[in-house]
Symmetry: C2
Subunit: 301 residues, 2 copies
Amino acid sequence: MFHELSKDNYFYAMSKNNEPKLKVNPGDTVKIDSHDCFTGQIHSEENAFDGFSWDKINPASGPVYVNGMKPGDVLKVTIEKIDIGDTGVMVTGPEMGVMGNRLKDMDVRIYDVNNDKGTVDFGGLEIPINKMIGVIGVAPPNADINNGTPDTHGGNMDSVKVAEGAVLYLPVYHEGALFGLGDVHAAMADGEISVSGLEVEAEVTVKLEKAETLKTYHPVITDKDGVYMMVSDKDLNLAVDQSVHKMIDLLQPQTGLSLSEMTMLMSLVGQTQINQVVDPKKTARFFVPGYILNHYNIELK
Amino acid sequence: MFHELSKDNYFYAMSKNNEPKLKVNPGDTVKIDSHDCFTGQIHSEENAFDGFSWDKINPASGPVYVNGMKPGDVLKVTIEKIDIGDTGVMVTGPEMGVMGNRLKDMDVRIYDVNNDKGTVDFGGLEIPINKMIGVIGVAPPNADINNGTPDTHGGNMDSVKVAEGAVLYLPVYHEGALFGLGDVHAAMADGEISVSGLEVEAEVTVKLEKAETLKTYHPVITDKDGVYMMVSDKDLNLAVDQSVHKMIDLLQPQTGLSLSEMTMLMSLVGQTQINQVVDPKKTARFFVPGYILNHYNIELK
């Protein structure tokens, strides 16, 4: 069954206490509209911050209640389509992102997106768009987590891999999962070093269902290239190491390899990668290519 | 002019005090033979560590003295060819690499390399080879640095990008630069999570010359895809952040963009990547694609 959810339904923190705005059955498809990460507050490069509220950033549309989902289940989210607006906003400033210690003033730029051509016009430079969803997740296990922060429930993972065609698996902590998404980017590169992608309004179509067999305590993505394990931590050293451990825990039992052999294999083919280094927790991902899964007949579903 | 250097000429620490084993002129080409990272001590999977010395790891062949190179210059190393042996060794064990806290015993595996097919035979699984140089560098500015450790002088950067066709730029600290390389891998993935690639003997052909205009305080690589800035630090958080700063310092003056705009551009197209997370210092690299350099007419040479 097909549903629609307007962008008027949004929240700024993932919480078990958020009231569901839509109830769907497993296997249903939902077209979710979302504001940009500034909740549409910025309309021009001049006086962009007049009346601007920093409390109104990273809205996620939802939550969507998936009937029958229980704590301990894994929610399977298939990203079927991402349609984005034709302008995007970027912000930099002091204490924001990797360069924040050298930036003296807040700066705002609005760039045109040419969806037909698949490009962003960056002052005459054409940048290929890579549409992706920054904030996506379920209600976290305990205390509320603001949408700017990623963790095991998803949240602000800011991954270029949360894109059309990808399938995201999220641990479920509460009845109905309480799924939401927002913070869509027309373009962004690994790291998101300025703290902002090219922030756009969007319509995202997802299929929501229960994973058949996959068990995970961290977000997992599969796409045409392979599988990614996402771990967030304030310390990137730990996030990277844990993304490796959790991927090996996921795959090794299905390979017949010893832990030593699996470690060697991952040293040869498994890649430590980075989603972002600018949110309250940084997010690492560990990638294993699809031909490895095929060789060992590992089905993730 | 073409030179050859035998693998009998090697050292275990990069040092201003290493005696040159070959003197070449800028623009000369050298075929450098290298031992594997165990200095050829491991010949079989059984009893691999009988008589093994951990003092004999990561030999680099050299040093090569490049006539006329002076402190403050930048050495340009063009990786023309990497030929590797037809077997490779891997090691894992307690306290080694990302998984070392869960490994109980030392383990050794020897895998065949099929250079005609371009594959490694990992117990029936065919892995594509990606030949790369683990240790490559010049004499560091002050104290000796063992070859297992990367830093501004290069060293054990363990980057998949130090591959055939790439050009590596290294800051020069001493007369003649005192260049060396070794620790070649038949295959390895970003992270090198076991602490070992598939370790092989190799013959590496490099052209050594003085960079025309490029100035850098950290290793820089250019290849067909773009440019990479490499920064090593015990803390990956700092390595990543500094790789971004140093890349922006390298490119921004040639773009005409403000620091805010450059930061935004890098957030859209510049990628935080990882060489390795298992050496005494971890190495991050920041990547900018070639079309960005072309658009702003940035020539790195």
